[in-house]
């Protein structure tokens, strides 16, 4: 290992892009990987071995939906066998009690269960699937096992007012950790952003509520809140810096510094089928591209914060400015911060939340004739299932 390069701490294993849900905020790329090109059990097992040798401590099993892999038990066994701690990031579908027991028995350390809302109708609208009742069942089954449980409530304008109900779900469960994670705008979330970004007022109320809950539940449940970074003054230290702490493997074996990196033009990504993980981590052109500081533009280049946030997110810089090397325009010091301010202005001037704010489609339609929920439902772009 070159002396100034540290090893990755976590491997994000994007096992598949198949998923029974179609969430409008999904961070998968718009171009989903075909099932026929997914890596085999054997290849993933080798990747886990190489990851452990490289110094990786943890594997995050994600997707799509990792439960869609019929070999999931074998994958967990392989990762544990290589010495990795295994996190399963899941929607809870498809699974029954027997399957859950088999995952725990083979050594699953931690499960993170997603929630699209506190109510079935919200969850159905956001995921275009009747998934909520199953999640509540799964939540009950967790109580039979010795397993670390995190609940991940994905937050946006359509469900940010459900935080008290979400807390109630968490408190009646065995979860010791809860993440309220505001949607960040990549992939499908970026396409649906106009209908997801909360208002300043919604955000302020949510912060207050969560602060109170953190205090009240201290020692019982650890609560973490991630706010949408458009509202922040400084950008997030995305992924802990480009290719510093984490690496992601896509379902067909591409090694990426992050889940969105394939949108950046001019990057060549290596594949775990062709090269071992250590060589990829140390030498891949895509991994080297934004390491260190030589690539930075001003103001990042001479900024005191460059070792704190690394200039923010490259993918976000690309999405919002067209230049992946630019300062993340979320940063208040970016000359392009105005682009983010314009987005926020639109979100706060014309909030699309709740029936009372949205313009009715037909002024004369009687409320009893039409499902009023449907009348104000945004025109969502739902994520499909890959071929």
């Amino acid at each position: 290992m070159p002396t100034n390069l540290s090893n990755p701490l976590a491997l994000i294993a994007e096992l598949t892009h198949r998923c029974p849900l179609h969430c409008v905020y999904c961070s998968n790329p718009l171009e989903l990987t075909q099932r026929s090109t997914e890596l085999s059990t054997e290849t993933w097992s080798r990747v886990f071995r190489e990851a452990a040798e490289l110094g990786v401590l943890q594997a995050d099993f994600t997707g799509g939906e990792p439960l869609a892999r019929s070999d999931l038990v074998d994958l967990i066994r392989a990762a544990r066998g290589s010495g990795l701690y295994v996190n399963l990031i899941t929607s809870g579908l498809p699974m029954d009690e027997t399957r859950l027991a088999s995952l725990v028995d083979v050594g699953l350390d931690h499960i993170q269960l997603s929630f699209q809302g506190s109510r079935a109708d919200t969850a159905a609208e956001i995921s275009n699937t009747k998934s909520h009742p199953q999640k509540l069942r799964v939540l009950e089954w967790f109580k039979q096992h010795r397993l670390a449980v995190t609940l991940n409530f994905v937050i946006h304008s359509r469900n940010i007012d459900q935080i008290p109900e979400m807390l109630a779900i968490a408190e009646s469960s065995c979860a010791t950790r809860v993440e309220f994670a505001n949607v960040q705008y990549y992939g499908w979330a970026f396409a649906n952003r106009e209908n997801l970004l909360p208002t300043r007022e919604q955000l302020a109320s949510s912060i207050e509520l969560i602060k109170q809950a953190q205090e009240r539940l201290k020692g019982k449940i650890r609560i973490e809140y991630v706010v949408p970074d458009y509202y922040a003054k400084f950008p997030k230290p995305c992924m802990g810096g480009w290719s510093r702490k984490l690496m992601l493997i896509t379902p067909n074996g591409s090694a990426l510094p992050c889940h969105a990196a394939q949108i950046i033009p001019g990057l060549q990504f290596e594949n775990v089928k062709d090269r071992d993980l250590r060589k990829i981590w140390e030498n891949s052109a895509a991994f080297q591209k934004f390491r260190g500081e030589d690539w930075m533009q001003e103001p990042c280049r001479s900024c005191d914060r460059r070792e704190l946030d690394f200039g923010g997110c490259r993918c976000q810089a690309l999405l919002l400015t067209g230049d992946a090397a630019a300062t993340d325009p979320v940063c208040s010091l970016s000359p392009q911060r105005g682009k983010v301010d314009a987005i926020l202005q639109a979100a706060n001037a014309f909030p699309l939340v709740g029936a009372q704010h949205a313009a009715p489609l037909l002024a004369t339609v009687s409320a009893t004739e039409v499902d009023s929920q449907k009348l104000y439902q945004p025109n969502w772009l739902y994520r499909p299932n890959p071929a």
Partner: protein
């Protein structure tokens, strides 16, 4: 999904006084376990890892549901005999409380069955 595994050193000094039941037995919470990589011992937990060195390692190794807090304090006071015993005790309690707040530790009653 943009989770990251974060590691950190948690300094043992400088935390306010805490009181915990000295007869309770700390035990690592579900999904929390010791690990090792590149000769560095770590405490692994959901999407995080804490580096363990010296005193923190000695403490966590004893969080097995068998050692009472009193025993852990006594053991470490002996191990670190040059340090002020009361300081050692307060450091241990502070560290245990911190791990508990992060939900890496449960305090179990040692009352006999």
């Amino acid at each position: 999904m943009q989770q990251s595994t974060r590691t950190q050193n948690i300094p043992l000094r400088g935390r306010p006084s805490v009181s915990l039941d000295p007869n309770s037995t700390p035990r690592l919470a579900a999904g929390c376990r010791l690990g090792e990589n590149n000769n560095q011992r770590v405490l692994l937990m959901p999407e995080r890892a804490l580096r363990l060195n010296g005193p923190s390692l000695e403490i966590v190794q004893r969080c097995d549901g068998q050692h009472t807090i009193q025993q852990i304090v006594a053991d470490l006071q002996k191990l670190y005999s040059k340090a002020e015993p009361e300081k050692v005790a307060q450091d241990i309690l502070g560290y245990l409380k911190l791990l508990h707040d992060q939900r890496a530790l449960d305090f179990e009653s040692s009352a006999p069955l």
